[in-house]
């Protein structure tokens, strides 16, 4: 069993942090890798990136947005409760190369995934400029941690309640126009990653995105996580989750992410009626 030893709410309870005992995984995990969690016997297998690991304590930390039935069930677990299954570390670690001028762009819970990567890049000697965004001030997460992990931090909100009013892409465009950017890392909602990639392509700046296709096993045996990259089919769980943003077919990914929308609504509805949640 994988016990929760810390639970925190962020962004007004829409985002939850869990620190979980998983010593084997904590020792092995590298930035960019994810785990698959299952709350109980009948639960779904849900992939989440590790936002933090503590090998000495034997714990990993995940930060997730409550979007449907499974993440809602996760959010009901309290300190002392356990996940039935935590599997990992899965996926390829982020390729971190020192000495570069990097812009890290994060949106929504994507910031949680971005944070260890930004920190890793800074530690490796990169100059890290970060741009993080959310719909409004209350939904913005990890601002302080991102400030520590970056040399320079820009904040945007859609409604201007904090930082600049507008999208992360606007700030990014200004930085690209100034020049000198070697690499961009973009993690967040798929449309955000798509627009960042379109923008950086104009400027010819290499861009890495972290994709979140629907997964089951996370080990390359089901093929459910197929994404088209550069015209080739890749498996998000073993070839990724990070890919060259200029080559990803984002529109296909958006369609594939909607494959179960109707059923997910039903599932959420049924469990609410039963008073399970």
């Amino acid at each position: 069993m994988f016990r929760i030893i810390k639970r925190e709410e962020m962004a007004g309870g829409t985002v939850v942090l869990n620190e979980i005992e998983a010593p084997r995984i904590a020792v092995k995990a590298r930035p960019g890798q994810f785990v698959i969690l299952k709350a109980n016997e009948d639960g779904e297998r849900i992939p989440l990136t590790m936002a933090e690991t503590d090998p000495a304590k034997g714990t990993i930390t995940v930060i997730y947005m409550v979007v449907g039935k499974s993440t809602e069930l996760f959010s009901r677990l309290q300190v002392g409760d356990s996940y039935q299954d935590v599997i990992g570390p899965l996926g390829q670690p982020t390729h971190i190369e020192g000495g570069k001028n990097v812009v890290c762009v994060g949106g929504g819970t994507g910031v949680a995934v971005l944070h260890p990567i930004a920190r890793g890049m800074k530690e490796a000697g990169c100059r890290v400029t970060s741009i993080i965004g959310a719909r409004n001030k209350d939904l913005l997460i990890l601002e302080d941690k991102m400030r520590l992990a970056s040399h320079d931090l820009h904040i945007c909100t859609d409604d201007g309640s904090h930082g600049r009013k507008g999208f992360v892409t606007e700030v990014l465009r200004e930085l690209l126009e100034k020049g000198g950017v070697d690499q961009v890392v973009a993690i967040g909602p798929v449309p955000m990653m798509k627009f960042v990639s379109l923008l950086t392509k104009e400027f010819g700046v290499p861009t890495m995105v972290s994709l979140n296709p629907i997964m089951i096993d996370g080990t390359g045996m089901c093929g459910g996580c197929r994404v088209t990259v550069g015209g080739e089919t890749k498996f998000g769980c073993v070839d990724g989750p990070e890919f060259d943003g200029h080559k990803v077919d984002f529109d296909e990914l958006i369609l594939r992410l909607q494959a179960y929308t109707e059923q997910e609504k039903l599932s959420y509805h049924v469990c609410k009626c039963k008073g399970e949640l």
Binding site: I25, D42, T219, M221, G223, R226, T233, L255, L266
Partner: protein, 466 residues
Amino acid sequence: MGAANQKSRQAMPEQDPHVRARNFEEVPLGYTPEMAIAEASRCLQCKNPLCVQGCPVGVAIPAFIKHIADGKFDLAIGKIWERNSLPAVCGRVCPQEAQCEGNCILGRKGAAVAIGNLERFAADWERANHACELPSREKATGKKVAVVGSGPSGLTVAGDLILKGHEVTIFEAFHKPGGVLVYGIPEFRLPKEIVASEVSCLQAQGAKIECDVVVGRTETVDELFEQGFDAVYLGVGAGLPRFMNIPGENMVGVLSANEYLTRANLMKAYLFPQVDTPIPHGRNVVVLGAGNVAMDSARTAMRLGAEKVSIVYRRSRDEMPARSAEIHHAEEEGLHFELLSNPVRYLGDEKGRLIGIECVRMELGEPDSSGRRRPVVVPGSEFVIECDLAIVAIGSGANPLLTRSTPDLPLGKSGYIIANPETGKTGKKAVWAGGDIVTGAATVILAMGAGRKAADSIHEYLTWGW
């Protein structure tokens, strides 16, 4: 015995095809003791039993059948256990018609003895009555063996080594042990409760099972040695799904059989929304391929409420690789066979959802390297099958996850592990391999056979050295 021989083969009682095509309960209901005795009495007790030669693990078939004929069911199961530790599974899923029953002398003129049904009977009888004791363990040797993968191959190795007094830990990537037996083969063909019972027997004998450990990620093979294991057996199966690489394959509505069956079996998605994992419900479902995996996918789709399920296969009925019993069951359940047809592309609507498959008709030409007549395209024969769900069941390959993290393990051309067929020894010291990861997708009993040979070789190594 003369009179008994005249009797015809006892038919297996089965759920009515119309009823069962919509439920997930087991299709064959099993023999009654009377039927089992009657069927067992048909056996000629041949001096030179050909059936045994057809059995990959050499079960003493006439001997166990004799015990059933005499009504000594406990002795019968004991006899089977000497060679086969998963009889409830094998009695249900082995391709008997190509193995023991295919060789049975009675089959020359009439119907072979129903060896599989009798094996299943003996195992089910034992499970219901718990009449036999667990086999006893040898004195502890203090040696530790890690088994990677909990499919039939891994379970067999573990079972044998535990009895020989070694400490065994099985590491399984999924959250439940059993391999294909739990995530691939559906409940209506192999109830999961049977696999669970076999697994708990193993645990009762002292084998440890650690789920949620992906070897190659959570631990590497070398780390297992560092942690004190003296030998490692790799029974990781052939779990890499193959796709046809034709246009439109990544559309919503096109799934690999692995994904479809894992959702249905391991995640119990047929009970959705009582369980949390969803599964697509097609109205018109097309399954590509004609092996056991294809039959299982097609029959699952039927049970999930499809109006029409078609099996698209590029050769003819005679070449279909599935067990004959499953093809027969599929036909009875009303599956539609679109033979001598090959898909060329998927068709979708403006939202990227599948609406059909374009196929071409095929003809059988000269035999190819597999000895089967090679299908060739009939020019200008394009046609469209309308469908909203397509399941690709055209085979699987070697998953590179573990082998990539074990660079000094010699591999063959397609990424399968090279292992000595007699011992299971690989090119890496103290590492054995067997089952589908060595042979490519094969059968439960062959995976078990490989496990048994490897267990003997591992025991030898732990006693005498490499």
